[in-house]
Assembly symmetry: C2
Homo-oligomer: 180 residues x 2
């Protein structure tokens, strides 16, 4: 494997895990409170700096916390965490402490028994927050467990139904080198 | 199934097919030229109006065409179209006519032998186009073949590798009704 610097590492990991469009868990902390929410409305936006866009509705308790703290952590749950994902998505941090309820580790903002894949983010651009609840974050640090290389992830379709990704197809040999 | 109006139909279809984060083919037309590109950097942004955000780099020939025409069509390819997707992603409309090269139908902006799933879009917001190449479109019409209900889609991870989605998991019974 080619030697990569920190910036390359971030870009590669963000693409690998977020570009496929999985449901993610977004955790936040503000004034000694923590919260976590499910999110399917996100996109990669730029390689360098490593930017991602997240649509976090004002209907989510996390919206205000993230707007104030200007930080969040994006965590990638695998299919092993399906019921936890559904639980987190169907409760509100305004009513319960979700970290306690779902047995999550606050320190790492990661999930027990899950591969540790998470991205620490700092707010980069808030121009569309007021009108569209669209936050642009810079990924400043990535935590990625070495295996599995392609964890089974959940992709939300609405209506309580998830699609599952995990199987891979490589077409690397058909790519122009500059497109990889 | 509950009776739905046109707006509900759009929202349901956009969520079902775009929220899971597949690679899409974005076609455009400007001054009698057509073009088509692959895109993995997109997100749903709003239910009503039905808004989606697309990051279309200036490095893509389509960027200028879409910026001028203020329209595009988002097409969803299935795994049957894998090689076509790779071909479209590794060529430029500045050099070839991709519709001709890949045997695509201009009229429908859809792919031969593929389920017709496409979304006609009109530019809704260009505030972040200059700085981030981020276009917010309103989906004004959806074309969705009735089957398969959950087509096998491609999700790009970088490095020439795609993940495949198709298998589904339903947790509908665990959702609060207002969350569906």
């Amino acid at each position: 494997m080619a030697k990569t610097n920190k910036s390359d590492f971030l870009v590669n990991q963000v693409r690998r895990y977020l570009e496929p469009g999985p449901i993610v868990l977004v955790s936040s902390r503000w004034q000694d409170k923590t919260n976590i929410m499910t999110l399917g409305w996100h996109t990669v936006l730029e390689f360098s700096p490593s930017l991602v866009g997240l649509m976090i509705s004002t209907g989510n308790h996390s919206h205000h916390m993230i707007r104030e703290s200007r930080e969040c952590v994006i965590n990638l749950p695998t299919t092993k965490l399906t019921d936890t994902v559904v639980g987190i998505g169907n409760t509100s941090g305004a009513e319960i402490d979700k970290f306690e309820e779902f047995g999550l580790t606050v320190e790492e903002a990661s999930e027990v028994d899950a591969p540790l894949i998470s991205f620490e983010c700092r707010l980069h651009e808030d121009a569309l927050v007021e009108r569209y609840n669209f936050f642009i974050f810079e990924v400043v640090k990535a935590h990625v467990a070495p295996s599995p290389k392609h964890p089974e992830t959940l992709h939300y379709t609405g209506d309580g139904v998830f699609m599952v990704s995990g199987k891979i197809i490589s077409r690397r040999s058909q790519f122009r080198p500059e497109m990889l």
